[in-house]
């Protein structure tokens, strides 16, 4: 049983979690840095604790402060949101050790899935398709080049310890391979102090499609369909939608089935996301598991009618899911746009400041998840996500039209403040997005300087 939930996060997701807790009759404890003391979740929560100064490292990422806050307020569960401590197995373990219910998968499962090598091993065993590649570190450039010849160019060379787009190189021909290998190894050694590399088949035109799964502690697991998150800028998702457009139903069903199989194989409990790359022929390849709620979870909620935070809390409390795959009946199309406090005119530089105006869209089938309001001062310390605008409609064209209208209603202004709202409208108008023929390269194409 859970009766009081500490929300170990800030911003829109903290508000999002607090809303569902309130609806479920659970008491809430907001934790906040000194900078966030007047934030929306602090007003909304039943109690709040200031856990440190502005910098996240000394507040939202400071495990002892979060745990102690839970203790002094008598919380019995901790919801980590996304980011911050949400995928930190140490934090999950400390929660368990200190007697708090961690709203997420067991620490051991999170640790196994957080490690690329062990996650891949589990999923290969469970029969998930992976991109052709070495999977493990290769100990020589020669072996690597031979493997590259075998799987066919282009390939991508990746650092075992890499992440965030660093420590990787795309190689398009055997001639380029030795130099790319050496250079990536040097970078990996310098940046991550770990020179181990592996290689994978590289997809020139891939879509990022992910499957939402929900598993309880009693062996039940369902998937909630697919989300297409191909619209990215520098690996940051901007627009997400469900279902994945132009992806055959059979493919989605198959992806869902293997994701459920993988989740069960990993002993997963809670809400999780299986990320796949899908090539232009509709072949899909497992990439990784996100052991938390995703930023884009609302699109799944809007098409399935299922409140994912509610399910997370129920499952964390030990309740069985209580429904099976055949009970999940997605309807229509949902799209999410992330309105960030960034200035598209200045290469998406963060543009924080005081919101003198903050008019957000509303009306039929429009949802806004945000912590912003008129008078809110966006602090420069945290990520720039200001509001998520989500729309639902019976079909994709209507959803796009509705989103265009919703973004047109969005008026967020203040000294120094800029947002991506109008940029997002342009993206929605792009013929490739309209036709659902976009891939992860679209935004790069849009924002890259034109070359002859």
């Amino acid at each position: 049983m859970i009766s009081k939930v500490l929300i170990a996060n800030r911003g829109e997701i903290a508000v999002r979690v607090a809303r569902t807790c309130r609806e479920m009759g659970l008491r809430t404890v907001a934790v906040h840095s000194s900078v966030d003391r007047d934030s929306a979740v602090v007003r909304m929560a039943d109690e709040s604790v200031q856990i440190g100064p502005g910098p996240a490292k000394e507040s939202y990422l400071d495990i002892p402060s979060v745990i102690e806050a839970a203790r002094i307020r008598g919380a019995d569960a901790i919801h980590p949101g996304y980011g911050f401590l949400s995928e930190n197995p140490d934090f999950a373990e400390v929660c368990e050790a200190e007697g708090f219910t961690f709203v997420g998968p067991p620490a051991a499962v999170m640790a196994r899935l957080g490690d690329k090598a062990s996650a891949r091993a589990i999923m290969v065993d469970a029969g998930l398709p992976l991109l052709p590649g070495s999977r493990d570190a290769l100990d020589s450039a020669e072996k690597a080049a031979a493997l590259a010849d075998e799987i066919g160019y282009p390939v991508i060379v990746k650092a075992v310890a890499g992440g965030g787009g660093r420590g990787m190189a795309v190689v398009r021909s055997a001639a380029d391979f030795p130099r790319a290998w050496a250079k990536t190894k040097a970078t990996a050694q310098a940046v991550f102090r770990d020179g181990r590399l592996y290689i994978e088949k590289y997809l020139d035109s891939a879509r990022h499609v992910e499957i939402q799964v929900l598993a309880d502690a009693h062996g039940a697991c369902v998937h909630l369909g697919a989300r297409d998150c191909s619209l990215q800028r520098r690996h940051q998702k901007l627009v997400e939608e469900s279902p994945a457009p132009r992806l055959p139903e059979d493919t989605v069903r198959e992806m869902g089935e293997v994701a459920v199989r993988g989740a069960l194989a990993a002993g997963y409990v809670g809400a999780g996301t299986f990320e796949f790359l899908v090539d232009p022929d509709g072949r899909f390849y497992f990439m990784e598991v996100n052991c938390r709620l995703q930023v884009e979870h609302p699109v799944t909620e809007m098409v399935t009618g299922i409140d994912l935070v509610r399910e997370q809390l129920r499952v964390a409390a030990g309740e069985p899911l209580g429904y099976g795959q055949h009970d999940i009946a997605p309807r229509g199309v949902a799209i999410e746009c992330r309105v960030n406090a960034e200035d598209p005119a200045r290469d998406f530089a963060p543009a924080p400041g005081l919101l003198t105006e903050c008019a957000l869209p509303a009306g039929p089938f429009v949802r806004v998840d945000t912590h912003a309001a008129p008078g809110y001062r966006i602090p420069p310390l945290y990520d720039s996500l200001l509001a998520k605008v989500i729309v639902w409609a019976p079909d994709r064209d209507q959803a796009i039209a509705r989103m265009r209208g919703a973004l047109a209603e969005t008026r967020i202004n203040g000294p120094g403040v800029a947002t991506t709202a109008s940029f997002l409208r342009d993206v929605l108008d792009h013929p490739r997005f309209r036709a659902a023929e976009h891939d992860t390269g679209l935004i790069g194409d849009l924002t890259a300087p034109a070359v002859a």
Binding site: H32, R37, S48, Q50, P64, E68, I72, R73, G375
Partner: protein, 217 residues
């Protein structure tokens, strides 16, 4: 205000609406429904008086009001200030100074206290050399972490400091226990211990005032 202003000039501070987050303290004068001011010259005089009263009310308020309205008969002056546009360099800041807050914080719940906490992890104190009332110069010492506050190094031991002690910068005055770690609370500047603001064994949050000091004389 002249003799004709017998309609009543009420200056009152209404209780704050529990839900109105945006409203601040309001100094408001009720309007007099009866009476008339007949001549324009008289209007001018009355408005002048009211205006001076309005500005004086503003200047003497212990916290910056957002609305001042004074009226007599059917003549009224109302001045509003917005909350966001508080002056950078207010002349009256001294009277709004934070001194009283440390004292008040005993009474407020932890939530309110948290919302007033200073920004830095280092112990902080408000601007020195503030107003000349009887809490003049007092300043709080704040907890630097979330946890349980203890005045003594272990149960039954003597407290680190007691009321009336003069403490030196860097001197340990208490501990906060967080995840079984004993984190010392140290003075950032010298002072005379006036009062503990948190009982022994009570939970504290980051930035919560725990000790009230005054300059050692």
């Amino acid at each position: 205000m002249n003799a004709t202003a017998n309609g009543g000039v009420a200056v009152s501070v209404p209780a704050r609406d529990t839900r109105a987050d945006l409203t601040d303290q309001t100094v408001h004068a009720a309007q007099a429904d009866t009476g008339q001011v007949d001549h324009i010259g008289q209007v001018d005089q009355v408005v002048t008086v009211l205006r001076e009263q309005a500005l004086a009310t503003y200047a003497n308020a212990s916290h910056a009001p957002t609305v001042v309205r004074v009226s007599a008969h059917d003549v009224a002056v109302e001045v509003r200030w917005t909350a966001e546009a508080r002056p950078a360099e207010p002349r009256q800041t001294e009277s709004w100074a934070t001194d009283s807050r440390a004292v008040d914080s005993r009474a407020v719940d932890s939530r309110t206290a948290g919302s007033r906490a200073p920004e830095s992890r280092a112990p902080q104190s408000p601007e020195p050399g503030a107003a000349a009332d009887d809490t003049a110069g007092r300043f709080p010492l704040c907890a630097n972490t979330v946890g349980v506050f203890y005045r003594a190094p272990e149960p039954g031991a003597a407290p680190f400091v007691v009321e009336g002690d003069v403490i030196a910068p860097g001197q340990q005055v208490a501990i906060v226990e967080a995840m079984k770690l004993m984190i010392p609370v140290e003075a950032d500047r010298a002072g005379l211990v006036v009062e503990f603001l948190v009982p022994d064994g009570a939970p504290v949050e980051h930035g919560q005032p725990v000790l009230l000091l005054e300059p050692a004389r």
